[in-house]
Symmetry: D2
């Protein structure tokens, strides 16, 4: 079993968080799955992810006070494993968990994913629940000082065999439901203790082992970021995706910062090992957060975002409520020329970046193909120039100077090239991307 085969290309799909926050229901999941199967699957989108607190009763009902209600009621089995809240996920009744919903998604030809928090429920520890297949109770494995600073649900697990048994029991359950993807939170960067930002290191390894033991190809995605650069090898060895940024939303400031993160993480991009730029906050978002809106990004910024995500080969998880997707956004998300670079052996490289512009490239030795993107980081129109000399310094293929013109994948306009040099005029925060080989 080789975890790099579970996600040989960057996962693409939809995640409930940006629109629903903690309050997504089975009905919502199905509606989005329906839409994806019908309109988006053909472009490569296939994962449907139920994000945080699917086990919590009352989730989202006290939004003016808390994002996560402390010490609230949760659905949990006698082994301390969280189960779907039956009010929101009625098909989970009678101990069926996410089995029926996963089956629904699978029937659509899609894959099913869920969110989880590192650790064991605090409530299980206080109640001394016994871990499945062991005679060890949760209070023994729960580390009372290992908490998440932004979510009150769990205690981290100590580094001991019974903790592995707990994760094994969890993944066994998830595999039995048919889960294809887990997004584990409070683990990629454990914010709570600034001086110990990787305190769940052993838990990452345990989750990896538990997946292997489960016998099911379950993609392991780690949150939140920013991931720790010095742990790059550890992420690559045990996980499939790891968030390189804190929560990403529809603000230019955050998008600008993503160029820095992508610069840093470009070398780690490999089959089964995907530095993750987070969900795409496009279309309709924010309802669960009490501020439903169209994305605050301009269209140019959205093109910049998609261009960067695709060249960098970040996983693409749509944040929008799919059933409300407008035509422009649909086109944005399904640019086939651009999505092509998510596949195969494309390898990204930043060519340069400063406060005014950025230039990226990606190439595929198998396809004999090289693609270049130019970005305008300024608040106003700006001309970005690039040439074969710099492409050839960073790429694996040689681009000859003789090319006469290239075509922007967004506008489909030809851009003329002279002696290997190209000059592109871009609107504020805009991007162009073109195949040069």
């Amino acid at each position: 079993m080789n975890k790099n085969n579970f996600a040989a290309v960057p996962p693409m799909g939809w995640n409930s968080y940006d629109y629903y926050d903690t309050a997504v229901t089975e009905k919502d999941i199905k509606a989005n799955a329906d839409y994806m199967a019908k309109y988006l699957r053909k472009y490569g989108y296939e994962y449907v992810i139920v994000d945080i607190q699917w086990y919590a009763y009352g989730a989202g009902t006290q939004r003016e006070f808390y994002q996560y209600i402390p010490f609230g009621k949760v659905e949990m089995d006698s082994y301390g494993r969280l189960l779907p809240c039956q009010e929101r996920f009625p098909s989970s009744a009678d101990g069926k968990g996410f089995g029926p919903l996963a089956a629904y998604v699978h029937e659509k030809g899609l894959k099913f994913g869920i969110h989880m928090m590192r650790g064991i429920p605090r409530d299980a520890a206080h109640r001394h629940l016994v871990i499945k297949g062991t005679d060890v109770s949760a209070d023994i494995v729960a580390d009372p000082a290992s908490i998440c600073d932004w979510n009150p649900d769990m205690y981290g697990l100590r580094d001991c065999p019974a903790s592995q048994a707990y994760y094994d029991s969890l993944l066994e359950l998830y595999a039995s439901w048919g889960v294809d993807f887990i997004k584990c939170d409070d683990i990629c960067n454990t914010h709570a203790y600034k001086e110990r930002p990787y305190m769940g290191k052993h838990e990452i390894e345990m989750l990896h082992k538990a997946i292997e033991k489960s016998g099911r190809d379950i993609v392991l995605s780690l949150s939140p970021g920013p991931a720790l650069l010095e742990q790059a090898a550890h992420y690559s060895t045990f996980a499939n995706m790891w968030r390189i940024t804190d929560d990403f939303w529809d603000s230019w400031e955050l998008l600008q910062k993503m160029f820095i993160y992508c610069e840093r993480w470009q070398y780690q991009v490999a089959a089964g090992c995907w530095p993750d730029c987070d969900m795409l906050p496009v279309g309709r978002i924010g309802k669960g957060f009490g501020k439903e809106r169209d994305t605050n990004f301009t269209r140019e910024e959205q093109k910049t975002m998609l261009t960067l995500w695709c060249l960098f080969r970040s996983p693409l998880m749509i944040g929008a409520e799919l059933t409300k997707l407008d035509d422009w956004t649909f086109e944005l998300l399904t640019n086939q020329e651009l999505l092509e670079m998510m596949k195969g052996d494309y390898r990204p490289r930043q060519i340069r970046r400063d406060t005014e512009s950025a230039v990226w490239m990606t190439d595929s030795v198998n396809n004999g193909s090289t693609v270049v993107a130019v970005f305008n980081m300024k608040e106003e129109e700006n001309t970005v120039i690039t040439d074969t000399e710099e492409w050839n310094r960073f790429g694996r293929l040689c681009v000859e100077k003789e090319t006469k013109s290239v075509k922007d994948m967004w506008t489909q306009k030809e851009i003329s090239m002279e002696e290997g040099r190209i000059s592109v005029s871009l609107p504020a925060h805009g991007a162009a991307v073109f195949r040069v080989l």
Copy 2:
């Protein structure tokens, strides 16, 4: 009501921690109170303090794994207030709490104190217990992200009126028992979050208010240290004592470091405001920690410690099991000449300190008295010289050069003085202390 009157001189007494750790019983407390009343009260020792986890069942029984058993059974009332563990404190049965034990101590002419942890029991929060006199439950006031990193029992309280109500209910209970002193832990320096070492600031103010509301003169002592120098005014305004060091034990390294802490905190020493050097690990200690022993300090080091504590006017809390006190240690703790400086308007000042020696002084304007102490910081014999010129630079009274000799309060030997200059030969880590006015 003026909290500075509760402890107009530094509190002196005995604390159960150094000998018993978490496992002290009612019988032990009484035995030590008996001893204190009989032999030590006349020297000013009057507080008998029950230290940490008097509410916990099984405390100390899993010492090879934990100091504090996580998620263990505790005695707690329906308002979420911890009560004495009945197995160890049988007189607390029938809801009488520490009332009978406090009465026993009071009858001996002594004062009674207890330890407490900042916050509300985790268990109370998970069980949604309702706070006395309110309709607010513990899960509302408990901050799930405010924990102690070394003890698993409590959650810190949010800054809201119901939290004040909880502390009010606690102090009301303690006052009803007859408590004279509380040592509140995880509050002076909140280690858990290195970047927020004073996260219980509002809780200190709440405790102060709760004491005032209780109508009883209850000394407020804050732990653990090192206290934060930039919060000196805050401690002085709301507390009576605050620990300026992390846990102090019988090691020269720690004693040496105390000179630095005392240097830093000398300016804050005032009636009702006592920077605290922690318990005196003398005599028999360490039983509850599984390493019962005589103190590791040499006799010279012990004299150095007592000299510093007394000149600095640190509270004096004996760590030894009193019933096992040997004669030499008894003499050490009851040097009346030295203890004199704990009283009245004595004000300490460090004169100088380097890696080889230190010189301190203290003076009383009321008594017209000035006392000087010299310390040998070296591992070998060392001669320390000091003179009227430096005393007069730091003191409030003027010492004339004409004095002919002074007498060491430890050895009772005369030390000759010439032209205002005195030269004292001291053994390794030793001290001498003498009245110069």
Copy 3:
């Protein structure tokens, strides 16, 4: 010799920096001295201080590029001691240094002070100049890694006897000129190396010794701040004043922050030991900085500033060009009732402080006097209430409840008092201060 006698009360005077920056001349100094002698001396102002780079040629001529011209021409003797730039200080010709100017100031009944940078001129080190009275050259004592990050003139000195010899030679020269005050810079907080903010510790001790050797009572003032709280005893032992803030200018934000600094340093205020709030940026300031202006402070803010400085007993150094002083500012600076608290045995205490208001007090046991000040920290009108209970908790004297009214020292208006309680309405950022005993 006792350095605490050099400045038994906080020094008061005028400093050239706020108006002239690096470009002050002998003529300017004399004009300000003339004014001070005529109008301000009677109120206690007596120091005339020549601030930074009096030795530099061309100082201030490249202000658009640098505050301090790097590697510029300086006046220096053959021992590596900086001398006044003759172009700006013509009376210093023929090796007379600041002698004639000091004499001029002394004749007016005033005291003369100068600025200096920690260390030895970089140029002296590169030129291997020999230190007076030794055969050691500057390159041996200069530490090439000990620099100031904001001024390029000097190297710090190594901790060795020849460094002491250099400082001795410097103070010998200054004493021969008749200098009464040195403001040594880059020493109180050595910014350059964030992790070594007290790298000139040994140089402070050397300066103290050099002053003692000089035989002249020269006040030692240390800059810049913020001073390090944990070094309070060190400052108190070796210096007379130390800056508790970074450069202070006419902004409410900085004034607000000063309340925090004063809270922290209140315990160190003592004869000869003055935590220093920096110059008073009132009247006409800023010319040398290319932005000559009237102070940006409102009148209320200026009253708040003077009230705080006087209660706290900060040294009072006027920043305004004195010859341009308007009547209102003159009155501000010469409030005799307020200046009274700079003298005798007044001891300040902060009573409380939050984001809306602050209350301070000071008392003199000798005078049997207690003074209270109330401050409005809000941007709008605000009522501040205070009472005898809190005064008596912090003061050394007891104020009885029977007082009927007090008088604001600024407005001279009576404020009524009822049952020991007083309620004062204050304009935005305003203050009132009144004697309660």
Copy 4:
């Protein structure tokens, strides 16, 4: 011009530092070049590097006080460019600089390199020397606050055109001498200011441009480490090698730490972009440091070191005095099987690492070759097991389970393999390395 072609494989050669410190002479350089040409060139060793302070008179003569004499005499031209000290490099007389020595080295079929410090000589700034081809003097471009904390010779350069002109003039000179390699110090990690560890960022770019302008293929090597992981793209874009460690010496602790550094930097290894593990402290070293010795490494540790360096493709710079090389060390450095992996398209990956063992691999798609190394991190004998499953997870080629045995490149012994699994017994700190494809 593409800097990645200057060093398409990791540079190999000899560096004067480990044996000579600051005191190497022309004669020493020639002797080592002679040896290299005769015995080592055939194995790929070709660079002869003159390390630090070749411009300084008296270098090494005050070793008990300083490594680098502050403010000492240096050889410098009128443009502020340092020249070889004529006493140690007599052939540099008459303005010939390193031209004759470079020519000598070139005649031997070798390449010639020199060390340089970031910035411009302090002395040039103080003397206002004018930069070649400009009318700007050194005091204008030198940043007086940009210094090196361990070497007193230079000031960093401001980010301005005249600084570029200075570096251009420097590289023009070096190119005219025939320099093939510069090791620029105080630039990869600028220790002096902990909070600004990359303050020479613009200077790296300037050096790169100056090399391009010089028209000569000069390898750019940056020191000291540890390089900053978040600047990986910047190093890769502008330099050929960068030190990933602080100075490396012959201690197991440092060698152990190198495994961590190699883990972190493995993804950056590419043609023209070489993370650098520093010189090989083998054979006779330390003379200039006053402790001439044989390396403190055991033979096993040396094999571990060479194995790691070669698999990781670190540049290989011999630290030993070559003329004193013993046979065993010669064999160590010239293991052709191992050196093979320094060439072509080999790409390293750490497979795993813990406190007991480490496993690395490297593969060449062009050669169809995969090599695996196992390391024993323990102080005692230890068996390390590895198998095809993990190789195939990290490698680019597929190793079939059918292989029957492999051969250790150090011992030439066969190691049997069973069902794709191999078990190797290793002595303390030992290594084995074998081709599996």
